[in-house]
Point group: C2
Amino acid sequence: MPSFEHQEFRDRVARTQARMAESNLDALWVTSPPNMNYLSGYDGWSFYVHQGLLIVPSRPEPIWVGRRIDVACVRHTTYLTDDHIHGYADAYLVPPAHAMTFVADVMKSLGLAKGRIGVEMDTHYFTARAFTTLAAALPDATIVDADRLVNWLRLIKSPREIEYMIEAGRLTDAAMTAGINAIAPGVRHCDVAGVVYQKLISGSPDYYGDIPDYQTMPKGARTDAPHLSWTAEPYRLGEACTLELGANRFRYNAPLARTVFLGKPPAKLISLAQVVGEGLQSALAAVRPGTTCEEVEAIWRATVGRSGLVKESRIGYSVGIGYPPDWGERTVSLMPGDQTVLAPNMTFHLMLGIWAADGGYEISETLRVTERGHACLSTLPRELVVLDA
Amino acid sequence: MPSFEHQEFRDRVARTQARMAESNLDALWVTSPPNMNYLSGYDGWSFYVHQGLLIVPSRPEPIWVGRRIDVACVRHTTYLTDDHIHGYADAYLVPPAHAMTFVADVMKSLGLAKGRIGVEMDTHYFTARAFTTLAAALPDATIVDADRLVNWLRLIKSPREIEYMIEAGRLTDAAMTAGINAIAPGVRHCDVAGVVYQKLISGSPDYYGDIPDYQTMPKGARTDAPHLSWTAEPYRLGEACTLELGANRFRYNAPLARTVFLGKPPAKLISLAQVVGEGLQSALAAVRPGTTCEEVEAIWRATVGRSGLVKESRIGYSVGIGYPPDWGERTVSLMPGDQTVLAPNMTFHLMLGIWAADGGYEISETLRVTERGHACLSTLPRELVVLDA
């Protein structure tokens, strides 16, 4: 069953249609897996082939178009009735055939041959060829860029969405705790990763976790890099490891990062952790409705700058529904120039990763903007984790 | 350290350059994560932003272009020297800025402003906007479709690649065995999934597994769908579940599917399993150098057709390096019309999924074409798994 009431999906579609009207769109072709999930509940691991939702102004429900063998996934995970489901045969998977000609035929059958059709130009899984094939198959249509139209609608979460993110946060805390507890000198890196995944997925006695995005957890010399996994090397006394984990609850993510040191940490790392910790506190204290994203970043920048620390990359981003390869929403970033004004029930991953050449330090929180300030989804201490030998 | 000798990467680049010469390409922009891994070893979870390898005829090494914070991942996972690494600042992530203008600048600096540049038009992560931005930034260049050029070079595996796939096969067997052993009436679906992931990742005492693609394991009424995960529902006596698992060893996959029934299976399922099993044996027996892919499928089709069974979708595909969302190589399929001639050290996932409305049955093998026939990577029995109550 879908994880939201039917009416919530209808409301989301209606908000999409309102935005479409502002751009005079006759249709919107939505291929981003998170956006498909947001508008319909669709949750199949089928986005390695071309598929999408078609939104038209006259219908309160999306139209799903995808590979025929995935039609059963639509029936299991959405409220869509069969007249809203169009499956194509495997022959469309073999070049020079292309699934977007099938999609174009569906569009034509809906009177869109001369329509103004929005597509997500810079979205994962909407390839260059998907675009050129659609344009060629609909020579009288106008294809316009509606990239991130739906992403922006996802920025403020509903009460049910917040509930799922809170649950994801609890699972992330449990996985982080289990991972940290498993770390000890001599234990293999991959065995800790196995414990983390087991916990993320089995979840708690009350609820489970769905397959999350990649969990990054480099250790030792590899902590200078943000996006690495694990090996079979044992943990060693005197080395650090960073863990960026994020459980997934009905596709909603609550990422969290911590850094662990085995043994007595070097003074430099203790100092870095303290500086970053002060920056984190200052940024959190700045989060409230009315503040802009760049103001939050500026406060962090000023705080850590007093100690000479500079972080070039952004310090966070809007988070919610995620499918590999990304749990970010691809809209708002906590970085200079982003003047988005914070509002209640926006949710951010505030990610303070310092990937210095001589070793990294990461700490992060997933937070919700509240009426007066913020609430973090994690209850874990916000500090360097030191494991005594 | 990279998982192959430097020379193996150089050989792969040289073969790529030979194919580029046939198409008169002055450069090839490779964005597919498996292809990037194949040509350089690059293995960071950074493909949610624009990145790629640039191959030019005059250089034996690829040129990596990606986000600046991922440069450290390049240093850890490839042999590339810093003069082959170009990182862009986070400002390129915020529209209307676009990372492909940075990529175009790198191309210009290499004298490619008027070049003939191949791109992977229908490849995950090469978006429509990436294409139009590149074309606009290089108005005097000729952008041509070189989709799957590198994919096709991956078809025949090297001895080291075969070794990794054999290791992946052992891990898949161990995870499948652990998963099946964990299934029992009353056990939660997600707890079995947790055991499977733990095993896939922790691996064996000898080696670990890297993060795999999604593992599909629907049960009960959801077995009519191929691409669903799990819930917290307990397993029940009298229901089936399908497991399609695949461990990942240095990014090489060895998928395997089995179907489990709890209790006494209905006669219809027993019969279906027998028919599919005969079809599997007939297809395997047909695999040898010189046979075409469509001939293998035709033999399967004829065998199961005698019992009235028809499977519309393809029965397999070339498999090797995989990154989410796909472990298929996107080249050869075992389906009508595919006249690719089998040759030693091609590797296939022979996937016989029957997703009938009243319940599914899946069985698959990952196999290697040998000098005389085939070798399966799994040692598990090829039959319906019946768990007595």
